[in-house]
């Protein structure tokens, strides 16, 4: 095998193993509610698969392969009586689940969605929902997850352990809610996935991978709830953003704003998929915030076809979004679009109206937008001050450098 062939084999193995991982965790813990046990049983099997499959090829029934290894390892452990004393009844239940699953291995029912609903249950600490989903559905480790949420691996590990204990001890059910309940129960699941994506959007180390994980989760929800327009809207929204990822940075890592991006670098396949999903979502029923946000992205990428972004459409869409999901971020983004249409004074008035909102005080896009609009209006002092705050709020070197250059343009 050449290097690139083995890389392809590895990524295929990883994809299949991960697909099985979440399904098996969901299935194996559905009755006992014991995520930790299910994960223990699968962790080694998952690693073994990632070692073997790139060489041997992915087995015909990956679920069965993983279960066989997991069962064998579990039995070995139990035989050694290492773990027998602590909670024998409980271990028996886990053993039952493993055996029952092994008999069903031809078709493990896909309960990943039920698992996601358990992870996003209202009694789970909101800060733990997204990481918990990433761990249980995708098999990411606490170390993988921690860096992306700016906490230490130990802290993240403790949060995850607490959340799992809660699911087990409070018997939080692994259930996809009935259709009439979905409108209230689905939003936290979608919000968790989107939180994973936006965490990945920041250019922190490892962030790119997290974006991929979020999109993966989005695909899972869409495939298991094909009738839900908002699930499709969210996936479309993430794909629109993802398609532009490689054009957001120049050759030297410098930040490139949306309207200066090279459209040839945009991922056409992802854009096409996003357009298709958005179309289906819109045909499917009531319009929610993710669909509108995706539609805004769609108007932005229209530049690929028409050469210019359609700012009037963007403003109108923000008006709709402001009605169903008002937030200072919506007001801010609408103001930016207004400014792009030439209505700079109106845009600045809207931004000024937000200045008392504490949430904007450390929100980089607020300061960057304010700076640019003040600069365009010739308000140099205000522009320099706002650019300075924006620079101080940066996470990434590329963005910092970009804003420093914008500021020095005014000063020169």
């Amino acid at each position: 095998m050449t290097v690139s062939e083995s890389a392809v084999a590895r990524s295929l193995a990883e994809k299949v193993a991960r697909e099985s991982y979440g399904r098996l965790v969901a299935y194996l813990s559905g009755r006992s509610g014991d995520l930790a046990s299910a994960e223990d049983a699968l962790a080694e099997a998952f690693l073994a698969a990632l070692e073997k499959w790139p060489d041997t090829g992915v087995p015909d029934n990956p679920d069965a392969w993983l279960l066989t290894i997991a069962r064998r390892r579990r039995l070995d452990d139990w035989r050694k009586e290492k773990v027998r004393e602590k909670g024998a009844d409980h271990l028996d239940l886990v053993a039952d689940e493993l055996s029952a699953a092994a008999e069903l291995a031809d078709g493990i029912p896909d309960r990943r969605l039920a698992l996601m609903f358990a992870c996003a249950h209202p009694s789970i600490d909101a800060a733990a929902r997204t990481p918990l989903m990433l761990q249980t559905v995708l098999g990411l480790t606490a170390i993988d997850i921690s860096a992306r949420f700016l906490v230490s691996p130990k802290t993240m590990g403790q949060r995850l352990v607490r959340a799992k204990a809660k699911i087990r001890d409070e018997n939080i059910p692994f259930l996809v809610p009935e259709r009439e309940e979905l409108p209230t129960r689905l939003p936290p699941v979608l919000a968790s996935i989107y939180a994973a994506y936006t965490n990945g959007w920041m250019e922190i180390d490892g962030a790119k991978a997290l974006g991929h994980e979020a999109i993966w989760l989005g695909h899972v929800v869409v495939s298991l709830l094909p009738q839900e327009p908002e699930a499709k809207g969210l996936l479309a929204l993430m794909l629109y953003a993802e398609a532009r990822r490689s054009s957001r940075q120049g050759r030297d890592g410098e930040f490139v704003p949306l309207d200066q991006q090279d459209v040839r670098l945009w991922d056409r396949a992802q854009l096409q998929m996003a357009e298709g999903l958005l179309h289906e979502a819109n045909a499917n029923g009531p319009t929610g915030r993710y669909q509108i946000e995706a539609a805004i992205q769609s108007a932005h990428v229209a530049r690929r076809l028409g050469g210019a972004s359609n700012w009037q459409t963007v403003v109108s869409l923000y008006d709709v979004l402001g009605k169903i999901a008002p937030s200072p971020v919506v007001t801010l983004n609408r103001a930016v679009a207004l400014a792009r249409m030439g209505h700079r004074d109106a845009a600045l008035a809207d931004i000024d109206a937000l200045s008392g909102d504490a949430r904007m005080a450390d929100y980089l896009p607020y300061w960057a937008a304010r700076a640019q609009i003040c600069a365009d209006l010739g308000k140099r002092t205000e522009a320099v001050e706002a650019f300075t705050v924006a620079i101080g709020l940066c996470w990434s070197e590329g963005e910092r450098r970009y804003l420093e250059e914008q500021r020095s343009k005014i000063l020169s």
Binding site: L150, D362, G392, L393, E397
Partner: protein, 120 residues
Amino acid sequence: MRYMLMLHANEADGQAVAPQDMARFMGQMFAYQQALEKAAVFISTDALVGSSEASIVRVKGGEVSVLDGPYADAREQLGGYFIIDVANIDEANKWAARCPAATWGSVEVRRIRDRSEYAG
């Protein structure tokens, strides 16, 4: 809650930085402080002189000893600090990750003990 962000960096690397780069770094630190102030979390900050001007004093068994800096065994030295007031460690970490000093050294985040925590 108050947190101290301790900025550690390699002094030798710092001395080797070209003047125009240093001016840019200083500008970034100023911008960072502006951001902290706008967000109303800033309490205080200071930069420290190099460890070659420092001394360590110990009194052990009645014997006083004074050790002059720099301390050869430590690669990174404390070069300055920010004291901020935020809700929790997650917020403090968020601000630490934005600190430009984190890109050339490391930022240690520690909660400052509240007076109420001392047994009365």
